[in-house]
């Protein structure tokens, strides 16, 4: 099974002088069980694209098939509520949306909203707080006392508490320090590898795309410019240059050396193989 966009278009303020076509005839297939990066410039349509996944936006034309449901211009999906539970969408800077008195209440809000009993919701909260790397003893504290990175984990825990099958994250590491960002990405990897969640990440960070994702979708001016495996994507840098995206450090190093006479393979994507190939080419004195 996969998530399929078919000729999907979305126009903001449709039928008014301010109409703006954010997505145009998008055909796209996203495999379940994988980690897919959605990249593109600010304003390219990335966020509009992912907001269709839980029917937060309904297409102006075309349709989307996800988890056995169809979302189209004419029909709201049946069981909209269960779709919202199965597709967890984490917005940019989700920590601004924490609102309850305690972390426990904040995390339990989602499952309760979807019909879980108080007891069940609390049980889920106790489980997921550990999944996001925070301590159970924090549950009674106010979410406002936490650091930015911790708040974001609580917000993500609130989504995980609903046990979604698909997890969509809009720039989940923006504004975090490098180590906070890395452990956040590691968390999503665990959710993918151990709990088999389908993960979609909207990101600008090419190091994260290279190190953590399976596939890349490039959105540009409301269209899908490319969908490919991460490995294939970083073999050539022409498209990256055309899109004005700075490649990951390892790819930049590989390209710079090749421009100056080295013949390093385009398949090199990690430090050990880069070091090995460099040594194969230089004559040591």
């Amino acid at each position: 099974m996969s998530i399929r966009f078919e000729k999907l278009s979305y126009t903001y303020s449709s039928g008014t002088p301010f109409a703006y076509a954010a997505l145009k005839d998008v055909d796209l297939e996203i495999e379940e069980g994988k980690v897919t990066a959605i990249i593109g410039k600010t304003g390219s349509g990335k966020t509009t694209l992912v907001q269709h996944l839980n029917a937060l936006l309904l297409p102006t034309a075309g349709k989307l098939e996800i988890l056995g449901r169809t979302i189209s211009a004419q029909q709201k999906p049946e069981h909209l509520k269960s779709l919202r539970k199965d597709v967890g969408l984490v917005f940019q800077f989700p920590e601004y949306q924490l609102f309850e008195e305690t972390i426990l209440k904040d995390i339990a809000f989602g499952p309760k909203n979807f019909g879980a009993s108080e007891e069940e919701a609390v049980r889920r909260a106790r489980e997921v707080i550990k999944v996001v790397g925070l301590d159970e003893t924090m549950l009674e504290r106010s979410p406002l006392d936490l650091s930015g990175g911790q708040k974001r984990r609580v917000a993500i825990a609130g989504i995980l508490a609903m046990d979604p099958q698909v997890l969509v994250l809009d720039e989940p590491t923006a504004g975090l320090d490098p180590q906070g960002a890395q452990s956040m990405m590691q968390l999503f990897m665990n959710l993918n590898k151990q709990m088999n969640k389908t993960v979609l990440i909207v990101t600008h960070d090419m190091e994260h795309v290279l190190n953590y994702c399976d596939n890349v979708v490039v959105v540009d001016h409301g269209e899908i410019l490319q969908k490919t495996s991460v490995h294939e994507f970083f073999r050539k840098t022409d498209l990256l240059k055309q899109l004005n995206i700075l490649p990951p450090a390892i790819i930049r190093t590989r390209e710079m050396l090749n421009q100056r006479g080295f013949h390093l393979s385009e398949d090199i994507m990690d430090i050990p193989s880069l070091a090995k190939e460099i040594l194969r080419e230089v004559k040591l004195k």
């Binding site: 600008h204 190093t253 710079m256 070091a275 040594l279």
Partner: protein
């Protein structure tokens, strides 16, 4: 000549935890200093102490030999500007023009002089086309550029950038970094940049590393960035060039340490290639 001297500075938000502990350092006029450290290490607290947004518990802050105290606060604020992290939290005016004018009005700059000043600094950050635009129509990078213009209009001697690019997309980051570098090259401005960007650190003059409210290392980018084991222990990133050199060393190739990719590539290109 010293722009800033900090002596034995301490501050705590509550009694249990000291956000800044016995910190001393000095910054030369016209230099570009970067401050690194993981979240919660005390970097932003220092920035707020330096512009008198927080009041120190202990120690001394001298700006141009002028001590920061209640009496001198307004004088010091006119010499030190700050640009914060979140572009949405520091836009005050209803248009770009009003926003740049805000600080000038506070400093009682005459109306007839204001227009010229606004145009001059909007030009410096490349925002002249947007003077009548509302903030909602601007990107994060554009908002931060307006914030910089607002600070520049006050003619400060020193500007503190407190992770001013960390919430921006790559294009916004690029715009701001370019503006900062250009300002630093063209004027005598002293720059302090609190950052997580190792490539920015590598290009600065002077680096301070903070952990648990203390300065744990201080020196030139080379002196700091080559101490990889300590950086990792402080949960900080090390330059890619160092990571690659460590791997090359494991495989038998030892080279002069380089903190930038360009430096490493140049060195590798000194070797003869086997066909």
């Amino acid at each position: 000549m010293k722009q800033l001297e900090v002596k034995n500075l301490s501050f705590s938000y509550d009694e249990a935890t000291h956000a800044v502990r016995h910190v001393s350092f000095a910054i030369e006029k016209g230099s570009y200093t970067t401050i690194i450290g993981h979240n919660g290490s005390g970097k932003s607290t220092i920035a707020k102490l330096l512009i008198g947004l927080l009041e120190k518990d202990e120690g001394e802050i001298l700006i141009d030999n002028l001590p920061l105290n209640e009496e001198n606060l307004m004088e010091i604020r006119s010499r030190v500007g700050i640009v914060f992290q979140n572009p949405d939290n520091q836009f005050i005016g209803s248009t770009v023009r009003d926003d740049i004018a805000f600080g000038l009005e506070n400093h009682c700059v005459a109306q007839e002089k204001m227009d010229a000043i606004i145009t001059e600094f909007a030009e410096k950050v490349n925002m002249t086309d947007y003077l009548e635009s509302e903030p909602t129509r601007l990107s994060g990078g554009q908002k931060q550029r307006v914030a910089i213009a607002g600070v520049l209009a006050m003619a400060p001697e020193m500007i503190i950038f407190d992770e001013s690019t960390s919430m921006l997309d790559p294009q916004g980051k690029d715009e701001i970094n370019r503006v900062i570098r250009q300002l630093h090259a063209e004027t005598q401005l002293t720059i302090i940049s609190i950052t997580h960007d190792i490539e920015e650190v590598a290009k600065s003059d002077h680096v301070l590393v903070m952990d648990q409210g203390e300065i744990k290392m201080e020196g030139t980018p080379e002196e700091i960035l080559l101490r990889d084991k300590e950086l990792i222990r402080l949960h900080l990133d090390i330059p890619f060039s160092i990571k690659l050199q460590q791997q090359l060393k494991k495989n038998g190739l030892t080279m002069k340490p380089e903190i930038t990719i360009e430096g490493l590539v140049n060195q590798l290109c000194q070797f003869d290639l086997k066909n």
